[in-house]
């Protein structure tokens, strides 16, 4: 048994008295671990397929729904089942498409950037004079650059975009546009890809600036409203585009060009 000391050993310096304090824990604290177990299992979720039965059930359901109306926008082949579907479709197809070249974008912002960069001669003029015109594509960043390449570099360096990323160069035409082009025998452009998989219906080409190519391409165009847009591509700063007549690329194609008429 310890000797009873005369001095109070339990003093201000000694015993840590109970002191009520609020305890706060960060989200990844082990304190919350048991409550997090279920949540961790849902950190990733697989989207499952339906069983055969479910598919059949849905098919029957879908077939019995026969009332459908055409989209009222001229030239649009879509057929819609209800007002909700129409609104959805309209939002997706008819409000963020470029009126010049019919490309469709998922946001108004991207559309407006596209229009400036692809169809605005004022934009090109300012670029030529050395203004910072190419906006960063990431919302909220606000930076602008003198060239497409500089912006591309910024996206990769600052925003961790993959180096294979291409938003505005490789895009696919809407069905409507492609039909139109095919009818007019406009030569298709092909994208010379460096590292990526086989080319798709890419509209623009990595150019070895050839004025001849441009001229010959222009000569095959009909005087449609699509002509001006094609020309403006050619003036893009530092990377003029060339229309190469379809015949030149024929042997590279897996499939020969289709006959005119709407594809479906």
């Amino acid at each position: 048994m310890a000797m009873g000391m005369a001095v109070d050993t339990v003093g201000e310096l000694g015993f840590p008295f109970w002191n009520p304090i609020r305890r706060r824990f960060s989200p990844d604290s082990p304190f919350f671990a048991s409550g997090n177990v279920e949540r961790e299992l849902l950190a990733k979720q697989v989207a499952l397929d339906l069983t055969e039965d479910e598919i059949n059930h849905l098919q029957k359901f879908v077939e019995t729904e026969s009332r459908r109306t055409s989209c009222p926008i001229v030239g649009c082949p879509e057929r819609l089942k209800s007002l909700d579907h129409f609104e959805d479709h309209y939002n997706a197809r008819h409000t963020a498409s470029c009126s010049v070249c019919s490309r469709v974008y998922p946001t108004s912002r991207l559309l407006s950037i596209h229009i400036s960069e692809a169809h605005d001669s004022f934009f090109q003029a300012k670029v030529a004079r050395g203004y910072d015109m190419y906006e960063c594509l990431v919302e909220g960043c606000g930076l602008k650059f003198k060239s497409y390449k500089a912006r591309h570099r910024h996206l990769i360096d600052k925003h961790k975009f993959p180096s294979t990323f291409e938003f505005f160069k490789k895009t696919q035409l809407s069905k409507k546009r492609r039909e139109k082009l095919q009818r007019q025998h406009v030569p298709r452009l092909k994208h010379e890809d460096d590292k990526e998989a086989a080319s798709s219906d890419a509209m623009e080409v990595e150019d070895k600036s050839s004025v001849d190519g441009l001229v010959s391409a222009l000569s095959t165009l009909t005087t449609s409203d699509t002509t001006p847009s094609n020309v403006s591509f050619g003036r893009r700063h530092g990377r003029g585009l060339t229309f190469v007549p379809r015949s030149v690329h024929k042997e590279k194609r897996t499939e020969s060009s289709s006959a005119p008429g709407p594809t479906n």
Binding site: W18, E54, T164
Partner: protein, 519 residues
């Protein structure tokens, strides 16, 4: 479903005549139904990957055996499917779109029908660049949807598989835009959610690429499965532990209003995702915390706790409440005063959680109470005068260890005034006496005996309160009566110095020679 080639040919005409919109609806329902079944499969996958103990490894072996025969077949099919997609993408003639969608759909099926989809085989065959191409702007919705679906399931697997989505991220993010059709945006949000769920590095990439604003805007509508998916993805994106994502989220106009609105009104599944967002906001962003408090979030959380019986919802709601309480006691006091002792009161819902059979709810409810009890004397009085007291005392003697520890915090906090400066914190004798007479001393002495340092420390501190604060010098006898001296003496040669000193000093002071127990 090894080869439904003939079947699908028979079906193809039906599909194309029905058109894109019907396809959309089908996808929408597929997505909805799929989510209801996801838990089982994902759970199996995660358990098998974690594999830390014998049980889990057995499960792994079992699954591998079941899958052994099927796996090579699936892998071969996946490679073939990617090849077909490749040629479909190259093809530019008539019916190109349909070809692409068909190829995508086949790949998607392979990736979403089994517990172990052939992701690796698909990746090796070069699926990603093709899927990225299929996401290009202006593509038909069905194509976008199928491609995003494939990417979703690729990202739901192993870490390296999720990382493989890097080249696709900018496009996935772009398709969250307001002009995208709802099913497409939702599927892209889902894929992004999986990527964000992988880890902090990928979260940082997503944030750098600007994923947060469009994703956040997807929760503005009042209802829909898109809101739920986007909220889930958002919760993954801001979970931290770094706070910058949470800080960025707060700045989005209207987001806090949307969160409050959903917390109040929406269905339980969506509310669950929203509640997790609130958990992270309240833990990581002081601005969010104060703005949400001003917006009346405490009452909304209390209402949900009172009305729901879904564990999935209760956990994040309770935790959010705890986070707010830990930060702002004044707000809590207002609520406490307003509604005393009704079922909808804060104490009432915490009592409901203490009564629950789920240990997480019990433990975290006790934690919340301990923080309230650490507040002003009014806070303590309010707790002390309610039905939680017998609950707490019962839990202290019966529940698992970690819950008991939390309850110990509550009880101790109730007995002590919050310290001013350096002075010894004053004991609230009334509370101490009633709690001790409720029979808590044994429970505290049990904690002293536990191997957990924090618990032992709590126990010793409470014993000190009893020794010092019980009237008429009853303390020492009471402690002795519950074998407290014995428990403390075990620390005589304990390796932990602080505990040793604490125990010894108590024994010295209160059970010294004067005490009359000479051995």
């Amino acid at each position: 479903m090894a080869d439904d080639g003939s079947a699908s040919n028979r079906r193809d005409p039906i599909k194309s005549s029905v058109g894109n919109v019907a396809g959309q609806r089908r996808r929408q329902q597929a997505v909805t139904v799929a989510k209801e079944r996801r838990e089982l499969l994902v759970r199996a996958k995660r358990l098998c990957r974690v594999g830390t103990n014998g049980d889990v490894e057995d499960a792994l072996v079992e699954n591998e055996m079941m899958v052994d025969e099927e796996q090579p077949i699936l892998e071969a099919q996946a490679s073939k499917s990617v090849e077909e997609l490749k040629s479909a993408v190259q093809y530019q003639g008539k019916g190109a779109m349909q070809k692409r969608v068909t190829a995508l759909r086949e790949l998607r099926r392979l990736l979403s029908k089994s517990e172990f989809p052939p992701v690796e085989a698909a990746l090796r065959a070069g699926a990603i660049p093709l899927l990225v191409q299929c996401l290009s702007f202006g593509s038909p919705d069905e194509q976008l949807l199928e491609s995003a679906w494939c990417l979703t399931n690729i990202a739901a697997g192993k870490p390296e598989e999720t990382k493989a989505l890097l080249p696709a991220l900018p496009l996935l993010i772009a398709h969250l835009g307001e002009k995208s059709s709802a099913p497409v945006a939702e599927q892209c949000a889902w894929a992004i959610g999986n990527v964000a769920g992988e880890g902090e590095d990928l979260r940082n990439v997503l944030l750098s690429q600007g994923a947060l604003p469009p994703l956040a805007r997807m929760i503005f509508p009042d209802k829909g499965s898109t809101v739920r998916t986007a909220a889930w993805a958002l919760s993954n994106l801001i979970k931290g532990p770094e706070s910058k994502a949470a800080a960025q989220l707060v700045k989005i106009d209207g987001i806090l209003d949307a969160i409050l609105r959903h917390l109040k009104k929406t269905d339980e599944e969506t509310a669950t995702e929203i509640a997790w967002i609130i958990v992270y906001l309240s833990a990581l962003s002081d601005i969010a915390t104060s703005m949400l408090l001003k917006g009346g979030i405490l009452q909304l959380l209390i209402d949900r706790l009172a009305t729901s019986s879904s564990l999935q919802l209760l956990i994040p709601v309770l935790r959010s409440l705890g986070n707010f309480v830990a930060v702002d006691p004044k707000a809590v006091l207002t609520i406490l005063i307003r509604e005393q002792n009704t079922e909808e009161s804060i104490i009432g819902v915490l009592a409901k959680c203490l009564r629950s059979e789920h240990r997480v709810l019990k433990k975290e409810a006790a934690w919340v109470l301990s923080n309230i009890a650490a507040g002003s004397i009014e806070h303590k009085r309010m707790i002390h005068s309610t039905e939680v007291m017998p609950l707490l005392l019962r839990i202290l003697s019966t529940s698992p260890f970690d819950i008991r520890k939390e309850v110990a915090y509550v009880l101790g906090n109730l007995c002590v005034e919050s310290a001013e400066g350096d002075r010894k914190p004053g004991i609230i004798q009334e509370h101490l006496v009633s709690i001790v007479s409720g029979g808590c001393l044994r429970g505290f002495i049990e904690l002293v005996r536990s191997p957990d340092i924090e618990a032992a420390r709590l126990g010793l501190q409470f014993i000190e309160l009893v020794l010092r604060g019980m009237p008429n010098g009853e303390g020492p006898k009471l402690v002795e009566g519950e074998d407290g001296i014995d428990a403390m003496e075990r620390f005589q040669f304990h390796e932990n110095e602080e505990l040793r000193v604490m125990a010894n000093s108590l024994v010295d002071k209160y059970f010294g020679e004067d005490y009359g127990i000479d051995e």
